[in-house]
């Protein structure tokens, strides 16, 4: 399952969405993550806990995008989120 760690606050800031760390996470993560609209869409699913397949079908339902592009976008997003230390270990 792909799920975000506890202690991450997502909110609007200006025209964008951001993720900042709170509570114990604040000691681990000091950087600011910026999300675009698609990023926010995927993040909302990751917050609840999800799988790649579920993200793909939701994305294909919501956005006018072909399967290959969506798959690549999701893969890239999850990789970035993992690198930034935002995800629970699988």
């Amino acid at each position: 399952m792909i799920k975000s760690k506890e202690g991450l606050l997502v909110r609007k800031f200006g025209e964008k969405y951001i993720i900042v760390a709170i509570d114990d996470m604040a000691d681990e993560m000091h950087s600011l993550i910026t999300l675009n609209e698609t990023g926010l869409f995927l993040w909302k699913m990751i917050e609840k806990g999800t799988e790649t397949d579920a993200m793909l079908s939701s994305m294909l339902e919501t956005y006018d995008v072909d399967k290959e592009t969506a798959e690549n976008d999701i893969k890239a997003f999850v990789e970035k989120a993992a690198q930034a230390g935002l995800l629970e270990d699988a």
């Binding site: 800031f13 200006g14 709170i22 509570d23």
Partner: protein
């Protein structure tokens, strides 16, 4: 605002002296009492400094957290000055020359420049207006005044060969700004901080200034932002 502080060290006492209120009867808005743990935390952040310094900065950190939680205020690491009762704040990465640029303003515009705080002012939102406050934590040269001045402009400073200034989109600078403030850990204070910064970076004019060390730099900046 009244703050009740009981410093232990002479260093802190002397630092606070210019801001000491005469009245004994004033009811404190904030009361700060340090614990050993708070001092040790400061030593962890910045090892190898004298203990009085840790006391001073630990007191200020507690004030910043209280202001953020209950007084619509935030700490901002910058050099803040006033001209015609309008505050200009200069922020930059350490060593860029905020204080030096502020000195260029004083040398160029003389007595019309009032130093609010050369290093660590507070900013508060009151009735929809942002005010910059002098505090005793005022940098190497102890430049500050016990005043509050409406915030006119935020200026992000970078070194340059020539003096060039342009208006920028403030919210793009959030990441930078978060490095110049004390970031809280609890959700409520974090949201207070981000709400205030969002409003401040949207409503107050923000500029990027690339400049050298010269009086011309001060003139270019002032003419564009005034």
């Amino acid at each position: 605002m009244y703050i009740d502080i009981e410093p232990y060290y002479e260093y802190t006492y002397r630092q606070l002296l210019p801001y000491t209120a005469d009245t004994q009867s004033a009811k404190a808005d904030i009361t700060v009492r340090l614990t050993k743990k708070l001092l040790l935390d400061e030593a962890k952040y910045a090892p190898g400094l004298p203990e009085p310094y840790y006391e001073s900065i630990a007191i200020y950190r507690q004030i910043c957290f209280s202001v953020l939680k209950s007084f619509n205020g935030l700490f901002f690491h910058c050099s803040a000055l006033a001209v015609n009762n309008e505050a200009y704040i200069f922020t930059a990465q350490s060593g860029t020359g905020k204080s030096t640029h502020a000195r260029m303003w004083r040398e160029t515009f003389g007595d019309s420049v009032v130093m609010i705080n050369d290093d660590k002012p507070l900013i508060r939102l009151i009735d929809d207006v942002f005010y910059v406050y002098g505090t005793p934590w005022d940098g190497k040269h102890s430049l500050s005044s016990n005043i509050k001045v409406p915030l006119k402009a935020i200026c992000f400073l970078k070194r340059g060969e020539q003096n060039v200034i342009s208006q920028v989109n403030g919210t793009d600078w959030l990441s930078f700004v978060l490095n110049q403030t004390i970031v809280p850990k609890d959700t409520q204070s974090m949201n207070n901080l981000l709400n205030m910064l969002e409003k401040m970076l949207t409503e107050v004019k923000t500029y990027e200034l690339r400049c050298n060390i010269s009086h011309e730099a001060a003139k270019v900046a002032y003419e564009f932002m005034k």
